[in-house]
Symmetry: C2
Subunit: 222 residues, 2 copies
């Protein structure tokens, strides 16, 4: 069966898990703790990072960029990029927004402080960095409000990789209760719509050894 | 005419400049200093980052991810991703390697310290960060040696976005003389082949106000 090497609180892994389920592609999860740099895994992916997708025919696709484009080229029902050049450019612009900008300003900071430092015993949590990240989230929620005020989904009429990427990142941060939802009702409505999808529901039910989710994390009404 | 909003020492802008020339697509460069956050540019790209491509028909494509995939979908002669799923996954894996991993470990550190801090007057250059970045480069040059020992170009038989991304990043760092070429002759040979391409030659001749390139920067023999 198709296998996805992933880590629980990794936005890029979550993005591929959501995409595979939305496309009704069966897969088995293989847990990989990237900070352990397991030798057998480094042979597969010298970068040591997840996600890595292994297809039944043995094809190995490495990294969020390669996997999402591979899925669109080979399993594109439903399609998450759109059909015309304008839609595809807009979906990819916003995917990059969340995978690069949001990741740098928010997700990576929170995950480093609250997950990696803890499990890899590589230092104490830095409260100032967490404060900075939770401040940064607000600008992104504001931008989500701006977009959803004008569109059905982030990139336009249809659910796309823009929504999947944004939700994957936000869910990793929301796990720790670090999102100020009460100030951003329209962003909350958009996220609630995504939470209600079966592809997301299953992720929100993950039990992660050593970590406890915030109270509202799995609730549709939050 | 087609326009490319770019900044001189931005690896992502260089990547698109190389790609457009390799594809023989005419374009005009428009200089944008991203740290100035010019209002008219933020209206076009709320992230405030370059590159941004504006096509003659008015289509605006934002960000290195959207632009490279757009170019492959709409101007794919020559093609820089390959034709089959294995090649495309490999090119995209290595593109992500340089655009994310190399950028985080090397380019972004050097550019922040040597360009952005200077021009935006946002602090003093930190020597320890630069030392760390120049140490990190070595692992990447070693990986380039490993790849070119087994292949004609980084991702396989053909020149691809993997080579373009790698060269774009390395050229930004090499501008400051921060690459230890003497220890990595095979990586130097690979880079020399790219330097000799007209698409790269024109970039190496850029005159950048306020910055002086290292002596060997433009030379084919270095």
């Amino acid at each position: 069966m198709r296998q996805l090497y992933h880590y629980w609180i990794c936005p890029f892994s979550r993005k591929i898990r959501i995409s595979l389920r939305e496309k009704a592609l069966d897969f088995k999860l293989v847990l990989e703790n990237p900070w352990k740099r397991r030798h057998e895994f480094l042979v597969v992916n010298p970068a040591g990072s997840v996600p890595v997708l292994e297809e039944e025919d043995g094809l190995i696709v490495i990294g969020t960029y390669a996997i999402t484009e591979y899925l669109e080229e080979n399993h594109n029902k439903p399609d998450f990029l759109g059909q015309d050049a304008i839609s595809r450019a807009e979906v990819r612009r916003l995917t990059e927004w969340f995978d690069i900008k949001f990741n740098k300003e928010v997700t990576q900071l929170i995950i480093t402080e609250k997950v990696i430092k803890r499990f890899s015993k590589s230092g104490d949590t830095d409260a100032a960095t967490i404060r900075c990240a939770t401040q940064n989230i607000k600008h992104h929620l504001q931008y989500i409000e701006y977009l959803t005020d004008r569109r059905n989904w982030l990139a336009g009429d249809n659910f796309s990789y823009a929504d999947i990427s944004a939700a994957a990142h936000i869910s990793c941060v929301d796990f720790f209760g670090d999102v100020a939802w009460d100030k951003f009702p329209a962003a909350r409505d958009w996220y609630s719509r995504i939470k209600s999808r079966p592809s997301m529901q299953i992720i929100l039910k993950d039990k992660i050894a050593g970590l406890v989710a915030a109270d509202h994390y799995g609730d549709l009404d939050f």
